[in-house]
Structure formats: C-alpha cells, structure tokens
C-alpha cells in the first residue's frame, strides 16, 4: 500500500475517480457489446428483413452449421495457409534475417533499407491492395519486367495465383513490424557474447542459431503472438484485392465473416464465426504465452 500514502493522491481520490469515469464507461460499453456479440451467435438475427426484428434463439444451431456446411472449414484452412506463409515464414523469418544482417552494416545502408521496408508498413491497407493489384496485373510490373522479356506470355497473377499474391503482398506490408521488434531485441544482446562466440570459432550461422536466437526467445514469442493474431483476423488487404475470390480461393475467416454477416446478412451465423475465431485466437495466445514463460 506504499503508493496510497501519497497525499496528493489520497486527498484527490474523488478527482482521480472522476478522471477514470469516461474510460470506465467506454470499457463498459465495449464489454456490453462483446457480450451481445456472444449472445447473437445463439440467434438467427439477420441484417435486413423480418429476422432483423423478430429474431429468435436457435441454441447451438449456428455452431453446428460451422462444421456441417461448407465454408467455415475451407476458410479456416485458407487462413492457416495465409498465416503460416505470410506471417510466420514471411514476415518473421525475413524480418529477423534483415535485423541480423543490418546490425553489422553501415548506418547509411541501414536507414535506406529501413525506410524502404517502413513504406510498405505505413501505407494504408487499401492503397497497398491497389498497388499490388496493379503490380501483379497482366500489364503490371512483374509481367513487364520479368515474364514478358523472358519470352513468356503475360500471366494474370491475381486470377491464377490469388493466394500466393495476397501472401506476398502481406509479407511486403508487414515485415517492418517484425524487423523493428527483432532489431530492438538484438540491440539487447551484448556485443561481448557475440564476440566470445566468434573467438570460439562459431560460424555466422551458429552465432545466430545457437547464441542470438536463444537469448531473444521471449521477443520471438511476443512477436509470434502479435503477428499471428493480427494476420489471423486481417481483413482489408485481402478483401480489397480479391474480395475472397476467385471462387473462394482467398476467403480467409475474416473475409468469410464479413461476407456472411454483411453481404448475406446472416448476423447470427456471423457472430458464431467470430466466437469460433476468438476461441482459436485464445488457444494460440495461451500456446505462445507458455512458450514465453518456459525457462531458457
């Protein structure tokens, strides 16, 4: 109770409580709405029409539909592929390699590369989607610079390889975050440790794998936690690039949720999807937090 003996705080408890009031109110609203989102998942509420007013409780029917009807499981699989390749393989590994490489280079190159990567991250989602649609189109940069000069007919990437294209776009957009986090983490590894490993004859690969990685393991877990969850629920980029198509090739859970809730108006079923997503995200978080806590 050390802090509460501070007189400027104890004599102003009323003012302090008053200051917390707006935030408490808004948090209350957030909790209330979240509770409603849960409740909706047990109803057949619709966006428009009769069921938007006269909805009724349908028990676990929405959750049964998740598994019995096509859509959810396919979207889950697409999401797993999207998260694995764009967040874990792409952003995380690339971000780490960049952070490790740039650590030793001159500051000039370092800031140029940094700014280039940051530009992707800072770009609004919709602009990034627009940019990548244009880059991968039949007359776009990749075709004009690589495919056509090599003598092949232009490829319509966004139609023929939709999922790889959105994965690449997301790697391009998101690597900066992992880079910044790993860069800050590697700064906390003391130079002496690295030098000692060098003196002992460790190769660059060994230095990274056996010395740096174990030291920054908590940061890796933190990073994984953040980017997995973000990518898992990431919506605007894919939605603006493909809308989930062609067919359902790029329909991740977030896009599926939007299409069900707002395009088709099945708010009840949509809420069930978001509850299921929350459950998956929760399990993943616990898994990563375990990883974070385990002794080195």
């Amino acid at each position: 109770m050390k802090n509460q003996s501070n007189p400027w705080l104890t004599s102003n408890l009323f003012v302090l409580a008053l200051g917390m009031l707006p935030a408490a109110l808004l948090i209350g609203v957030l909790l209330y709405f979240t509770a409603w989102a849960f409740a909706f998942s047990f109803t057949d509420l619709a966006l428009v029409g009769r069921k938007s007013v006269e909805w009724s409780w349908v028990g676990l029917q929405n959750f049964e539909r998740l598994f019995t009807r096509k859509g959810f499981l396919d979207a889950l699989w697409t999401t797993v592929i999207f998260v694995f390749f764009s967040a874990i393989v792409g952003q995380s590994v690339l971000g780490f390699l960049l952070a490790a490489t740039l650590r030793g280079t001159r500051s000039g190159i370092r800031s140029v590369v940094e700014v280039c990567i940051m530009l992707g991250w800072l770009l609004p989602d919709i602009v990034a989607a627009f940019l990548w649609s244009a880059t991968t189109s039949q007359t776009g940069l990749i075709n004009a610079l690589i495919v056509v000069p090599l003598g092949f007919p232009p490829i319509n990437f966004i139609n023929d390889y939709a999922l790889p294209v959105v994965i690449v776009a997301n790697v391009w957009k998101g690597t900066a975050w992992s880079y910044l986090l790993f860069s800050a983490a590697l700064d906390s590894v003391s130079r002496e440790v690295i030098e000692a490993a060098k003196v002992d004859g460790a190769t660059p690969f060994q230095r990274i794998w056996l010395v740096m990685l174990p030291i920054i393991r908590p940061h890796i877990a933190t990073n994984m936690l953040f980017i997995t969850i973000w990518t898992f629920t990431y919506f605007p980029l894919i939605f603006a690039m493909t809308g989930g198509g062609p067919g359902r090739q790029t329909e991740t859970l977030a896009v599926f949720l939007y299409n069900q809730s707002f395009a088709r108006g099945n708010l009840g079923f949509g809420s069930a999807i978001s509850v299921a997503m929350l459950a998956i995200v929760g399990v993943l978080s616990i898994f990563y937090l375990r990883l974070l806590r385990e002794p080195k």
Binding site: L26, R103, L119, L180, S285, L292
Partner: protein, 271 residues
C-alpha cells in the same frame, strides 16, 4: 557482422537489391500519378503535370480527405484524453488486479472487430450515430484497451519522487500532472497518438459499414469504391488520390520517428 570486405560488399549489394525490390511497386503509382494522360499502364509519361493531384483534392475527393482527417485526429485526440485521465490513476493507485484486467481487455480486443461491429452498428443506428461522430466514438472504444495499457506503462516510468517533491513545494494534483507527468511521458503520448491516428486513418471496415452516403466516406472507403467500379477507371486520379491518402500516415511517422523508436522498444520489451 562480417569483418571480411568482400563479404560485407556482397551483403551491401544484396540489401540494396532487396530495397529496390521493396520499393519497385511504387514506380507504377508515381508514373501514373504524374502522367496527365494516364492509362493505368506501366509506361514513361509523355506529359508530366500535377493535374491529377489538383483533381484529387477538389470536389468529393477533397471532402473525403477532410472526413478522414476529422475521423483520425478526432479519434486520436479523444483516445489520448480519455486514456490519460484514466491511465494516471491506474498507474499510481494500487487497484487490485489492474494489470490482469488490462491484459484481458487487450486480448478481448484481439477478437475480430467484425464481431463487435454488429452490436455497435445496431447501437449507433438507434442512437442516430451512423456518421463521423459515431465512427470516432466507436474507434475510440475499440482503441481504448491498448491505449490504456501503453499509457499506464509510460506513466509507470515517471519517478514518483519528482511528484513528491512538487507536492512538498505546494503543487496541486493538476499542476503535478500537467507540469511533470505529461511532459516526462511526451514520447509515450506521441506514440499512442500516432498509433490511434494511423489506425483511424487506415480504418476501412468500420466506416464502410457506418458511412451510408458518399459525402461521409473517408478516403479508405472512397478509394475502395472508386477502384472497385466497373467501366472507365481514371487511373491518373486514383494514383494521385492514393498518394495523397498515404502521405499523412507516412509523414506523421517520420515526424515522430525518434519518439516512435523509444516507445516501440517499450512495447517490445514489456510485450
């Protein structure tokens, strides 16, 4: 990392190559934006001019810029004000379970926002808030858990001895907060403001559902609506519009860059 000169030169070349690849998609954007007779193709413009930009800041497009500015600045300022007045007591008073509570809230916010959007939409509809004010309040609510956690962490780093000293000198609570705590956590506040600003500036889903008429669209929805259109697309206009839309988010970052990196290290370490 390498002391070997050929090795480090190879690394430098590889890095430069990578940087070029990274920025190459921008070439199309820039070539088309400055091309007064843009066709959406990747080509060297025959006539260069700012006509597209003039078009992108006038009429409906200019209005959408103002909408975005209002939403982003409004959300960031409201989040920071509400956040500060709650985060200071949270940081200084020993409220049991406050950290667990804040983390629970942050995890709760990991819920895909489309889920909370449904009840938010109904509430806004009933309250007549399907407009910019509604978007600002909704975004502030969604931001608040993260804002509170970050601001509390920054206030925790302000040494309490300074406040004690000020109190002994006869300063009131208001003076202590505005003259000591706030100036000392300036970097943190800047980071939080920046996060909320860019978050709201980029926000797409919420205004897509809340904004019913074209006049109320922020730039994200305006751009989406324009390039989703069938028929003749005015690429010159769209690319110039994209650049104007991207500029503030990029600009604010570079203005606050030093603060950002300090604040960022804090996020990373505390996790």
């Amino acid at each position: 990392m390498e002391s070997n000169p050929t090795h480090s030169r190879l690394t430098a070349i590889a890095l430069t190559f990578m940087a070029v690849i990274w920025v190459s998609p921008f070439s199309w954007l820039i070539l088309n934006a400055f091309n007064t007779a843009s066709t959406g193709q990747l080509e060297i413009p025959r006539s260069v001019g700012l006509d597209n930009f003039a078009m992108a800041i006038s009429g409906n497009a200019g209005r959408q810029f103002l909408n975005s500015m209002l939403i982003a600045a409004g959300t960031a300022t409201l989040s920071v004000l509400v956040g500060i007045s709650a985060a200071y007591p949270l940081s200084r008073l020993r409220i049991p379970g406050r950290n667990a509570f804040l983390w629970t809230l942050v995890l709760l916010r990991m819920l895909p926002s489309a889920g909370v959007l449904v009840p938010l939409y109904f509430a806004a509809q009933r309250g007549g808030l399907l407009n910019q004010l509604g978007v600002i309040i909704a975004l502030t609510i969604l931001n608040l858990p993260f804002t509170l956690l970050l601001l509390k962490n920054f206030f925790d780093t302000v040494p309490i001895e300074l406040e004690e000293a000020a109190y002994v000198e006869g300063a009131t609570l208001f003076q202590i907060v505005t003259r000591i705590v706030l100036p000392m956590s300036r970097a943190g506040i800047a980071v939080v403001w920046f996060f909320s600003f860019t978050g709201a500036w980029n926000e797409f889903l919420l205004p897509l559902i809340f904004a019913r008429v074209q006049d109320a669209f922020p730039m994200s929805v305006g751009l989406y609506a324009a390039f989703g259109q069938q028929g003749a697309i005015n690429y010159g206009f769209l690319t110039a519009y994209s650049i104007i839309y991207a500029a503030p988010a990029v600009g604010v970052y570079f203005l606050l860059r030093r603060n950002m990196n300090t604040g960022f290290a804090g996020v990373g370490v505390k996790g």
